[in-house]
């Protein structure tokens, strides 16, 4: 069974033993504790129990975690050590983890130092930005040769400001002339939006001048209060910026000095995360003065261990099978080959707990289809080797690890099909032999080359598709029988088997002489039996006229099967795309002919071109292989919508605590 059987667990214990029990349950990591809101809303329960919670403690822990996280981020930002490509957890013995986790004081002071430096950097960056803004405001005035705080003389005012670029300066001068000849207008600079001007006028004529200025949209420049000429001011700002940069660098170095302590902070963070989860789990416990109550799920295989643990902690408990038809959390368990393909199932949606885990049924086909669509031995080798090395080097967990393993199998499959169809970087061997050695070499396909015999390949794709679909229908029939509805299996799957197989025999015999006349006849009768059967039984759940139309509707479903089978033609089309594009690349590379120049061109085109072809077609194969499962295969039987099993366990981010074997 690929969905793990779950058992319901409920237990009552003494509050005094609660913490120890929670700690041990967490270490065991196989029990999911349920939220108990419904019980609290139930009057019978609400009078007796209350929710156990401790939000203040959680908030305190979260605060400390936040600081640790900030410090880790700061280190990650300025770290001089090369970053690892993937995030993996370090393995650590429990004793060591606990010992390190106790060294709070040193780690906390370290976190304090790092965060102080990091905040210092943030402040300095803000300051630098402010200076930059001030500098930008000054830049248009850089050719102005008076100190910016000059306000004028005893009789004169000196003002600086801007008028819009659209305003005409000569016209402004004209307007000024009309009022007074005693003024001096200088255009300091102009850009796309504004003209920067400086104006000297007599104090007594201030009002007239201001009138004119207003008409031309003049606005005085703000914030130019600086002793000395603009040029000096700008260079002073630049010096300040330099200084700030140095300070930032110093602080960065300070953070870098602490980077060796990163591992300790990670342990600190993870130990806090465990504490937080342990505090949070109390939300799922109900308590009276002296006792607590918990409810949850545990996999049947682990039930014995859980029972032993509860017994040791003097709890009263009950572990029972779920009621018939009751939904349970979903945990999938599959063999070595199929397990990585759970990722594909999860990307769709988890199966309903009462349904079936499709993974073991499609895993083989997934790899098969992926390989057929990419179908190049060299590409397959690259994928398999790359994923193999990554998996050896990084202990990847979760979805990422599963996908890597899955692509490893897909790479092997690609290699297999590549050899069968004779694709090695497309036709690189032929091209190289022709271009450089003027020889005709063709690496023969072990089976056949789909480019030469596309119809054969198309038929083969359809046959594989047919098998795939029949398997899907078979699973559907199996589910019906398992749920005690054998007639449904016969009517909805069996009759279709008869009809479809009959149709293939009949049409194949008639049109292509695939089978002898006896076979054709059998096929014809099977078709008739199947079709009539479906017509009669298709509407069996309906009433009155619905019985007839239901049957017709079911029979009409045959178009769906036709479309489903045709959909598998993508196996041919995508396989061709890989092969032909690869040979386009090889042809392009060989355009310069033989010799050293030709070799260089070929190498460049080869590397870039095949990298592109591999990535785009691997993506295509991934997507379309998934699609064939999701749409064609899942459509036949799959019931999704289960909730994932979420055990209460040590959910750490950086450190994997080794489990003691017991």
């Amino acid at each position: 069974m690929a969905i793990v059987r779950m058992q319901k667990l409920s237990a009552i214990g003494l509050v005094s033993g609660k913490e120890t029990l929670m700690e041990q349950l967490m270490k065991l990591g196989v029990v999911q504790l349920n939220i108990q809101d419904s019980k609290l809303n139930n009057e019978d329960w609400a009078d007796l129990v209350s929710l156990d919670e401790n939000d203040a403690a959680v908030a305190k822990i979260e605060d400390r975690m936040g600081k640790a996280y900030q410090a880790l981020e700061a280190i990650a930002k300025y770290e001089t050590v090369k970053k690892s490509l993937f995030h993996t957890r370090r393995k650590m013995q429990r004793e060591l983890f606990q010992k390190l986790a106790e060294e709070n004081q040193t780690v906390e002071s370290q976190i304090g130092r790092i965060n102080e430096a990091f905040e210092g950097i943030t402040e300095l960056i803000n300051e630098a930005n402010k200076i930059e803004v001030a500098k930008l405001a000054l830049l248009p005035w850089k050719d102005y040769n008076l100190p910016l705080n000059t306000k004028g003389t005893k009789y004169c005012d000196l003002i600086r400001g801007v008028i819009p670029a659209a305003a005409s300066l000569p016209k402004l001068q004209e307007a000024m002339e009309e009022k007074t000849p005693c003024y001096d207008l200088q255009l300091v600079a102009s850009d796309a939006e504004q003209q920067y001007i400086s104006l000297l006028y007599l104090k007594k004529e201030k009002n007239e001048i201001e009138d004119v200025l207003r008409q031309f949209g003049f606005s005085p420049s703000q914030g130019l209060e600086f002793e000395g000429e603009p040029q000096q001011a700008i260079s002073a700002y630049e010096q300040q910026t330099e200084k700030i940069k140095e300070q930032i660098q110093e602080l960065e170095k300070k953070i870098q000095k602490e980077q060796d302590g990163k591992h300790n902070i990670e342990v600190y963070y993870d130990s806090l995360a465990i504490k937080k989860d342990r505090a949070l789990i109390r939300h799922r416990l109900l308590v009276t003065n002296r006792t607590f109550y918990l409810e949850g799920w545990t996999p049947k295989v682990a039930a014995e261990k859980v029972a032993k643990l509860l017994e040791e902690n003097n709890c009263w408990f009950e572990i029972t099978d779920p009621d018939k038809g009751e939904e349970t959390p979903v945990l999938m368990q599959n063999g070595v080959f199929s397990a990585p393909f759970e990722a594909v199932t999860k990307l769709y949606a988890l199966p309903d707990s009462r349904g079936i885990d499709p993974t073991p049924y499609f895993s083989f086909f997934y790899a098969l289809f992926f390989g057929m669509m990419l179908s190049d031995a060299a590409y397959g080798l690259i994928i398999a080797a790359a994923t193999f090395i990554i998996l050896k080097k990084y202990p990847l967990e979760g979805m990422m690890g599963q996908l890597m393993k899955m692509f490893f199998y897909c790479g092997i499959s690609t290699m297999f099909w590549g050899i069968l169809f004779g694709g090695y970087f497309g036709d690189i061997v032929t091209v190289v032999a022709k271009t450089f050695f003027d020889a005709d070499v063709v690496v023969p396909a072990v089976w056949f080359n789909p480019l030469d015999e596309p119809m054969k390949m198309l038929t083969f794709s359809f046959i594989l598709g047919g098998i795939h679909l029949f398997l899907g229908m078979g699973v559907s029939g199996y589910m019906s029988i398992r749920d005690g509805r054998p007639w449904d299996a016969l009517f909805d799957v069996g009759l279709w088997y008869i009809l479809l197989i009959g149709l293939v025999l009949w049409l194949g015999g008639k049109m292509a002489a695939l089978v002898g006349p006896t076979g054709t006849n059998i096929g014809m009768w099977m078709t008739i039996v199947g079709a009539v059967g479906i017509l009669i039984t298709g509407g069996r759940d309906k009433k009155g006229l619905g019985k007839l139309t239901g049957g017709l509707g079911s029979l009409y479903g045959i178009t769906g099967y036709l479309a489903d089978v045709l959909s598998y033609s993508r196996l041919l089309a995508l396989g061709l795309a890989t092969g032909v594009i690869a040979s386009v690349i090889n042809t392009l590379g060989s355009l310069a002919g033989g010799g050293i120049g030709g070799a260089i061109l070929l190498t460049i085109v080869f590397v870039i071109g095949h990298a592109y072809n591999l990535s785009i077609n691997a993506l295509g194969s991934f997507v379309h292989s998934s699609r064939l499962q999701y749409v064609e295969f899942f459509g036949k039987f799959y019931e999704s919508g289960g909730e994932a099993f979420q055990p209460f366990y040590e959910n750490t981010k950086y450190v994997e605590i080794s489990r003691e074997e017991n």
Binding site: V344, S569, A573, L576, S583, I616, V623, V631
Partner: protein, 166 residues
């Protein structure tokens, strides 16, 4: 004069090359589709730069029509001897027109499905903006459109494969 022009226009090799050109024009659909998806991707990445990789994958999906077009164009060129270094093969007007017809499915379907797929990819990118864990569903919705480009490619290919030249 006019007959000469007409005979040039209906020269087999010329018509076949026209077919190759049309097939390659399926790239219009991809260009447009990838563009539409790219606009959506930039908007999403502006909010969360970490989604770059995911958005890029979705953006690449409408790119295949161009590849299918290229594939058919390349096969046509191979068929009439434009590539391969042995010189062009004699192509009759009839054969040229056959090849031209074979290019039509991927030309037309490629353009339209490329644009449609681009729109689907753009909304899939919007989907990952809110729920990055659901990228597989977005990919499948987008790939649904591509089915028809695949079918067109198949027909173009099978038609072309049935034509004998030289």
């Amino acid at each position: 004069m006019i007959t000469e022009m007409i005979s040039t226009l209906f020269n087999g090799s010329y018509v076949a090359m026209l077919g190759a050109a049309l097939a390659a024009l399926a790239g219009i659909g991809s260009a447009k589709g990838v563009g539409i998806a790219g606009e959506a991707a930039s908007a999403v990445v502006a909010e969360d730069p970490k989604k770059f990789g995911q958005a890029l994958i979705l953006q690449a999906l409408p790119g295949t029509q161009g590849i299918y077009g290229l594939l058919i164009a390349f096969l046509i060129m191979l068929k009439i001897g434009l590539l391969g270094g042995n010189g062009m093969l004699p192509v009759t007007t009839e054969q040229g027109l056959y090849i031209f017809a074979a290019a039509l499915p991927i030309f037309i379907v490629g353009i339209i499905s490329g644009i449609a797929q681009g729109k689907a990819a753009a909304s899939a990118i919007m989907l990952i903006a809110k729920r990055p864990e659901e990228i597989a569903k977005g990919m499948v919705y987008t790939a649904m459109v591509e089915t028809y480009a695949v079918l067109a490619l198949l027909i173009s290919f099978l038609m072309l494969n049935g034509i004998q030249v030289g």
